[in-house]
Amino acid sequence: MSASLPRRRSGLRRGFYRFRQSVLSMAGLAVVMVLLLVAVCGPWIAPYPQDLSGAVHTAIRFQPPGPAHWFGTNELGQDVFSLVLAGTRISLLSGIAVVAIGSAVGVLIGAVAGFFGGLIDDGLMRLVDLVLTIPSLILAMAVAAALGPGIVNMIAAIALSWWPGYARLVRAEVMAKKNEAFVVASTAAGAGVVRLLWRHILPNVLSPVIVKMSLDVGFAVLTVASLGFIGIGVRPPAAEWGTLLAVARGNIPDYWWTAIFPGLAIFLAVFAFNLLGDGLRDLLDPKARR
């Protein structure tokens, strides 16, 4: 154990080095940091905060991008830049919430299935197969339609279709780990099920879960925006990128800026999280590196 520790350390350090050397991973990290910063203080740094609470200025409808309004104004005369800034918080927060809930549920179910095996495992894994028979966007759409509009319902609907991937991943990892010597040793020392899973097995299966989470945040943001675009989920005037884009669809081609900037924001966020996730996978999961 003590002999293997320094080697693992230096492996991690080499991983960090590779991560820092990779321009794309660092770019992803930088953009994610900026987005998180904007998500925290977006509404305060927005140049026209009154537009976020639904102020209407009919005199300055559809102003093209310029010094006063960097991204132009929309059909209500609201500053598109302010709306996109404020949308960062809703989009990132819902994306992260989806992944947090989905991974928590998935890890729990996967750990239980992998640890106990037998009938419990069979039952839970059939449930996983079942949920996977419907594409996640469609399942989320149906559940959101049944639950009704609202941001909390939307997050719940997406999370409901998001956990099976984690359950499969964690189940396989737990099954591989549960017969290792350190687990057998702590069983012999009298550790209970909860302690075994929480203190000994789960910490050892965490890195693939973290990699999957970082790759998933981007797609969760994308799914949130997709549901917003369809018209389920966040309702106007709350500024959510997909909803902004859905409303702006009617304004193109003459007022293209109302659509382009929210769309670019979605693309930028998803791309940055994917770059970061790719980098983290190389760092934490060297087996997947080719």
């Binding site: 794309l24 059939r126 197969d129 079942l130 949920v131 028979t133 419907i134 594409p135 996640s136 966007l137 469609i138 399942l139 759409m141 149906a142 559940v143 339609a145 049944a146 639950l147 009704g148 981007g218 994308l222 925006a225 997709s226 675009f229 369809i230 018209g231 389920i232 997909g242 884009l245 669809r249 193109i252 081609p253 293209w256 659509a259 769309g263 979605i266 693309f267 998803v270 791309f271 994917n274 770059l275 790719d278 080719r290």
Partner: protein, 335 residues
């Protein structure tokens, strides 16, 4: 091979039962009154009561499920409040358009993705490889509805090369309906003009939809080709003096494709989910557009019907892909 196919088809039965159970759970178990949802936002209390009676909401859950499942088999998929027609009838009308779009997008993604992935692997770590890696990650991150809007702005509005949306010009004669797929029907009727028109309408939505599966296929194909290139038999072939091109196209391709096909099966679901978004952008009259307009009118049963329909397509599509893999790789038939 026949035994393999029969066994796989029989395995569909429990999967379909599971699928209907899941859809049943969405309609009946989630909080919210299923009768009120099915009756629509403007229903009177009497209408809601009538639907509750039809659903048998006072009976036990297994009895309700039995009534629901046998109803599905009889063709009772509920009523659309908006179109005032049975959902199954609507689905039959809209499904061919979706199939045409999905097949075109899938065909495009496979036809371009496999050679590009092979090329990237053969040129590993040189500029064509780096370029495909970055571009494909970008394409995966691109929201399909935004890409569709950009296509409309660029190719339909600014350049005027292709139509903005829809499937066929109003007022022109449709080719005689055989398969419901306009391009195929036009070819069957020998009407080249109609084929050209239908193809023009199909191009933008199909390309918008194919881009992210295309990128995924390139990435997967690249990874599995690199893996196959490290196999011993490739080294042997090289030692025997076979040309690089022959090794790549004859021996590596077949093995790398079967690994990629499995992934294509999984992404088939992603593609089907995308129909909802792409059809909405391009006003393509398929089941995706049907579902989104149902969302806007709070018409619940069509949404459920589309969910079931897309789930079925996904399951059947994966079955076909499994059969294709078994055809390519005899070892897979034993599983």
């Amino acid at each position: 091979m026949l035994v393999f196919i029969v066994r796989r088809v029989l395995l569909l039965i429990p999967v379909m039962v599971g699928l209907t159970l899941l859809v049943f759970a969405i309609t009946r178990l989630l909080p919210g009154d299923p009768a009120r949802l099915a009756a629509g936002p403007n229903a009177s209390p009497e209408q809601i009561q009538q639907i509750a009676r039809e659903f048998g909401l006072d009976r036990s859950l297994p009895a309700q499920y039995w009534a629901y499942a046998t109803g599905l088999l009889r063709g009772d998929w509920g009523m659309s409040i908006y179109s005032r027609r049975p959902v199954l009838q609507d689905l039959e009308a809209y499904l061919p358009a979706t199939l045409e779009l999905v097949l075109a997008a899938m065909g495009l993604a496979v036809a371009l993705g496999i050679p590009l992935g092979l090329l990237a692997a053969a040129q590993r770590n040189r500029w064509p490889d780096m370029l495909t890696s970055v571009v494909s990650l970008g394409a995966i991150s691109m929201p399909r509805f935004f890409l569709g809007l950009l296509f409309q702005l660029c190719f339909a509005m600014a350049l005027g090369w292709l139509p903005l949306g829809g499937r066929f010009p109003l007022g022109e004669d449709l080719p005689a309906r055989v398969s419901g797929l306009l391009t195929i029907d036009a070819l069957l009727a020998g009407d080249l003009h109609a084929f050209g028109v239908a193809l023009q309408y199909l191009t933008l939505p199909a390309v918008a939809m194919s881009l992210s599966p295309l990128a995924t296929i390139v990435r997967m194909m690249r990874a599995s080709t690199i893996e196959v290139l490290h196999q011993d038999y490739v080294t042997t072939e090289r030692a025997l003096g076979l040309s690089r091109r022959l090794i790549l196209l004859k021996y590596v391709l077949k093995n790398a494709v079967s690994a990629t096909l499995t992934v294509i099966g999984l992404y088939f679901g992603w593609l089907l989910g995308g129909t909802v978004l792409v059809e909405t952008v391009f006003d393509w009259p398929g089941i995706g557009l049907y579902a989104t307009s149902a969302v806007l009118t709070q018409d619940f049963m069509p949404i459920v019907g589309v969910t079931l329909c897309i789930g079925t397509l996904f399951v059947v599509g994966n079955l076909l892909i499994d059969i294709a893999i078994a055809q390519l790789n005899p070892r897979a038939r034993l599983r």
